[in-house]
């Protein structure tokens, strides 16, 4: 009779720490992330937090919130926020709204499509400063636009389009629309085209297809497009100075921040205004993103 050898009790060993960490995704590869993180922390987070701290230590004393109070109590300062919204919101809305029908009509390939998109990208490449300079001449009372309007008897007198709200708005649209358009097109192409075919076999005409199929599936992308367009428009700075009226009608909040920091050398106030600018913008974006969260955002099947 053979006696079965007793198997020594097996003590379960815990896997090495390295393996446990690797399970959760932490391993040496993460080191590659370090330069990027260091960079962001040093050159972005730190200055931003420093500025935030600065904003709570006003030059003239009066407690941490003195600068903030000053901003909201002084109409000259407070109104800049309103002015910026007055420019940014319509510009973003116009850009996004106009991009939808255009993206729709132009989504199928056609001859010259690449030329068209290339031309559209030109204003983005040229940037806000050049656009402002060009508008100063094109929209001037003696510029070509007014000349044309006069020649065709659409107006009796040249209309004021520079050194006011309109010049800046035009500038924001010229540089902002291509961006919104290309983004919208990209989202639109991410929607499976057979969905619309299926809808039409079920009896949906073009409006029903748009309303029940395309638009709901496009809406999350449009929300993002709006957010980005709004950021661009809200950040307006050189245009507001060059082709606007920086001490009056188009005194946007970025100008106020710059003025405080670099012309009055009140860095604390400058930082304060920068913080207010950021927070206001983030509130709008958060609201839009919250709304977007209620929409269906899953796969839409297209090739994107």
């Amino acid at each position: 009779m053979t006696a079965l050898a007793e198997k020594p009790p097996v003590t379960p060993t815990r896997p090495a720490l390295r393996h446990r960490l690797a399970e959760r995704g932490i391993d040496r590869t993460l080191l590659l992330l370090v330069p990027g993180l260091v960079f962001i922390v040093v050159l972005f987070l730190y200055p931003f937090l420093y500025g935030l701290g600065l904003s709570f230590t006003p030059d003239q004393g009066g407690g941490p919130f003195a600068n903030y109070q000053k901003f909201f109590q002084d109409p000259y300062l407070r109104n800049t926020l309103w002015t910026t919204f007055e420019l940014g919101l319509p510009a973003a809305l116009i850009n996004v709204a106009a991009s939808v029908p255009m993206a729709f009509k132009l989504r199928r390939p056609f001859r010259g499509k690449r030329t068209l998109t290339t031309l559209l990208v030109v204003p983005i490449t040229l940037g806000t400063v050049l656009t402002a300079d060009g508008l100063l001449e094109f929209l001037a009372p003696s510029g070509w636009l007014n000349k044309t309007l006069l020649a065709w008897h659409i107006v009796d007198q040249p209309i004021e389009l520079v050194h006011n709200y309109w010049g800046v708005l035009f500038s924001l649209i010229i540089t902002g629309f291509p961006f919104a358009f290309l983004l919208t097109m990209s989202y639109l192409s991410g929607i499976d085209p057979t969905l619309e075919s299926a809808a039409s076999t079920l009896g949906a005409g073009w409006w029903e297809r748009f309303r029940f199929i395309t638009l709901p599936l496009l809406a999350p992308g449009l929300a993002i497009t709006f957010c980005l367009s709004f950021v661009l428009a809200f950040s307006v700075f050189p245009s507001a100075i060059l082709v606007g009226d920086p001490s009056g009608e188009t005194r946007v909040i970025s100008i106020a921040a710059y003025h405080a920091a670099r012309e009055q050398f009140d860095y604390s106030m400058g930082s304060t205004i920068a913080v207010i600018m950021t927070v206001s913008m983030l509130i709008v974006i958060a609201a839009v993103l919250l709304w977007r969260g209620t929409l269906y955002k899953g796969a839409t099947g297209g090739k994107g």
């Binding site: 299926a198 039409s200 009896g203 599936l217 899953g298 099947g301």
Partner: protein, 365 residues
């Protein structure tokens, strides 16, 4: 489900063609479909079957020809006015709508009142047995379930014709068999006229009342499954329907009904299917029609190369003395290296003309 599909007598395609630029996707398709019929469009990719379906649906305009529903011409109508149901290959379920809303969509577009709409949606859901998934979204369903939703959505409107574009091709093998039976059951229950596109000949044979075999945009043969299976009309159809052996041989003698072919020391006598005269001919034989050690006049000496076990029988690839491969099935047992003799009755050797096949399409779409 008590579907009263709209009645009509026939759906007629008259010389339907479609081309883009220099490419012809579909040429002169003539087909008359009777109410209640299940017609399968069969062929490899690029043969024009999906094009034909899309033309029927109205998703593609015709380059030539016309389509008639009884005496009403419909090829000028957009898809939303044709009222044909369609099941897409990728199902095209609306991802942001629940199963219920997907199925109800067509009814909403036709302004069916709410109570009636709900009733019909419920009927459709129980027809495809998706009751417990009605509130789910397509992203939460499996492939087979999505497919059933797509079918339910198409039939909820009780359309006169249902179009199906390779609905089973995205499913795995077992599911495909299951769903095939489902589709058959639905067709028998509802009696809806169906036009079904597939590249799988087994599917077409098991589902269809009639087959339309296409290649490079032109019709090769139209007939019942039996007709096409047993009497393919040219080498191309034969090849597609499982006549795996296609021997190119020289004609020794021929008359109207029989042809004797030979090469390299063997002779085959077969049915003259295409008026084959002097010159060359193609002998098409099914692997199943060979008999191991049989007694028919047609005899072939074969060396066995590769044997695949299929349970009841074996699927064998061998070589003839000339080195050409030959495929046969046997319920006997052979092993690689064996030398065997096969025979085949002469009515199971179909002889076709070597140049009857249309030129290969310039670019498969």
């Amino acid at each position: 489900m008590t579907v009263r599909a709209q009645q009509f007598t026939e759906l007629r395609l008259d010389g339907v063609s479609r081309s883009y630029g220099a490419q012809t996707a579909l040429e002169g398709l003539d087909l008359t479909i009777k109410c209640g019929e299940f017609v399968a469009l069969l062929g490899p990719s690029g043969c024009g079957k999906t094009t034909a379906l899309n033309c029927l649906a109205g998703l593609l305009p015709l380059s030539g020809g016309s389509i008639w529903l009884d005496d009403k011409r419909i090829d000028g109508l957009p898809p939303e006015k044709r009222d044909f149901g369609m099941v897409f290959q990728n199902y095209a379920l609306f991802p942001h709508m629940s199963v219920r809303r997907n199925i109800a969509f067509g009814l909403r577009m036709h302004n069916v009142p709410k109570a009636e709409r709900n009733k019909r949606v419920d009927e459709a859901i129980s027809l495809v047995q998706l009751g417990e998934h009605a509130a789910k979204f397509p992203g939460q369903l499996s492939g087979g379930q999505q497919q059933r939703v797509a079918i339910a959505r198409a039939v909820a409107l009780q359309p006169p014709v249902v179009l199906m574009d390779e609905p089973l091709s995205n499913l795995d093998a077992t599911l495909r068999l299951e769903m095939r039976t489902e589709i058959r059951r639905l067709h028998q229950t509802l009696g809806l006229t169906t036009v079904y596109v597939t590249h799988d000949q087994e599917e077409a044979l098991s589902l269809a009342d009639r087959l339309v075999v296409l290649r490079s945009g032109s019709v090769q043969q139209i007939g019942t499954p039996e007709e096409v299976y047993a009497h393919p009309v040219n080498r191309y159809v034969a090849g597609f329907m499982g006549y795996r052996n296609m021997f190119e041989l020289n004609v020794i003698e021929s008359n109207q009904s029989l042809v004797v072919l030979g090469a390299d020391g063997f002779k085959l006598t077969g049915v003259n299917c295409e008026d084959v005269g002097a010159g060359g001919g193609i002998a098409a034989i099914r692997p199943e029609d060979f008999v191991l050690g049989g007694t028919d006049a047609n005899r072939l000496e074969v060396t066995v190369e590769i044997v695949e076990y299929h349970g009841r029988d074996q699927s064998v690839q061998g070589t003839l003395r000339s080195g050409e491969p030959i495929y046969f099935r046997t319920q006997g047992r052979v092993a690689p290296g064996d030398a065997v003799t096969l025979s085949v009755p002469q009515d199971r050797v179909l002889v076709f003309s070597p140049d009857s096949a249309p030129p290969p399409d310039p670019a498969a779409t």
